[in-house]
Amino acid sequence: MLEMLRQYISGYVALTEEEFAVLGKRLVVREFDRRQLLVRVGEVEEYLNFVVKGLIRMYFLKGKTEMITNIAREGELISSSSSFLSGKPSYYNVETLEPCTVLSISRTQLERAYQESPKIEKLGRLMTTYFVLQKEEWELECIRLDTRERFLRFIGNNPELLTRVPQKYLASYLNMKPETFSRLKNHIKKRPVTGRP
């Protein structure tokens, strides 16, 4: 479990055993059934979670429609990030789609880890930078690419989500109508996706 996290972190910064332990001793393992809420709208997000097993989505309600803004699987982080970082109430619900195991760190513990180790602080900076860039990239793609291009790009990069995540959720995540999603999916069944559009 910790090995998975160590792998993930090594993508950002090289930590010594001691530095990793600063983080390790502050983690808690949390397990959830499917369809459980980790945080709901209006609550303050206390944890940053690393998915060890399972699938988690983040969404809010626009009228009666669920708008999904994030889906995380094994080896990825999820949290109502803005709320976690600001300590203000969450705009989003975070809910498991499958039974899940996550490694979590609370805001207070993370702050302590930053104070204890400059390398962890650097990790924090690099990870937050990455979140900003990811968000920017997603936003730019939504502007730049049309519906079909976004669908193909997403499926190309995340083929296994197509079998794990209910179709209506994927459609919502890609901000397209379920009918459009299904039409595009039937389209590629006949002709397999070859690389980028």
């Binding site: 708008m67 602080e121 924090g124 937050t128």
Partner: protein
């Protein structure tokens, strides 16, 4: 364009204050940092970075006004507006060292305090307090960008308009209407109509 030395001093002083708002930064540390800053001056309507170039700088507006836009199918989609004290650069290009898809262009004559990618790396190496400052500034950027993203998805055109006018009355004066409309993802006609609507009665909090 020539500005007096005291004007630059005052702007630097403001920058120090602004950074200090995120994390304590001693005068000495700020002095050290100052050496890495470049002052870049641009006339209005000048492209600071073109599409296809790799972004060399992270800029903070000392004074003036700039926007970032994405050229898409003969249209320019404005994705950021930055006035005094705000950061503006082509982030993805700057961090990943890839050609920029976005364009940064001045709206008014603008002066930037800029730091190059390499200088920024050196700064993180040399000044211990920088990691914290960097982390907190980026955290703030993330929260703001998430807020904007959420508002775009969740709020109606009218709500977005009213909220922006209420929170940024100065920008409504300074930014050409077509850029604001694009930034708020509102059709120019709708933007005009909403503006006329609010002119008669004051916007309530």
């Amino acid at each position: 364009m020539a500005y007096s030395a005291s004007t630059y001093q005052a702007a630097l002083e403001k920058l120090h204050q602004y950074l200090h708002g995120y994390a304590p930064l001693t005068r000495n540390e700020f002095r050290q940092m100052e050496r890495f800053l470049e002052i870049r001056e641009f006339d209005k309507k000048v492209k600071v970075i073109h599409e296809g170039e790799v972004e060399r700088y992270l800029n903070v507006v000392a004074w003036g006004l700039a926007r970032k836009y994405l050229p898409v199918r003969n249209k320019e989609i404005t994705i950021q507006l930055a006035s005094e004290g705000h950061m503006i650069h082509s982030e993805l290009s700057f961090h990943y060292r890839v050609p920029s898809r976005a364009v940064v262009e001045t709206i008014e004559p603008t002066v930037f305090f800029s730091i190059s990618y390499d200088s920024l790396e050196q700064l993180y190496e040399q000044i211990p307090g920088m990691e914290r400052l960097g982390r907190l500034m980026i955290t703030d950027l993330f929260i703001k960008s998430d807020n904007r993203y959420f508002n775009q998805l969740r709020k109606s055109t009218r709500e977005r308009f009213l909220e922006y006018v209420r929170n940024h009355p100065d920008m409504v004066q300074r930014v050409p209407q077509k850029y604001l409309a694009s930034f708020l993802n509102i059709k120019p006609e709708t933007f005009s109509r909403l503006k006329h609507l609010t002119r008669g009665k004051a916007v309530k909090g």
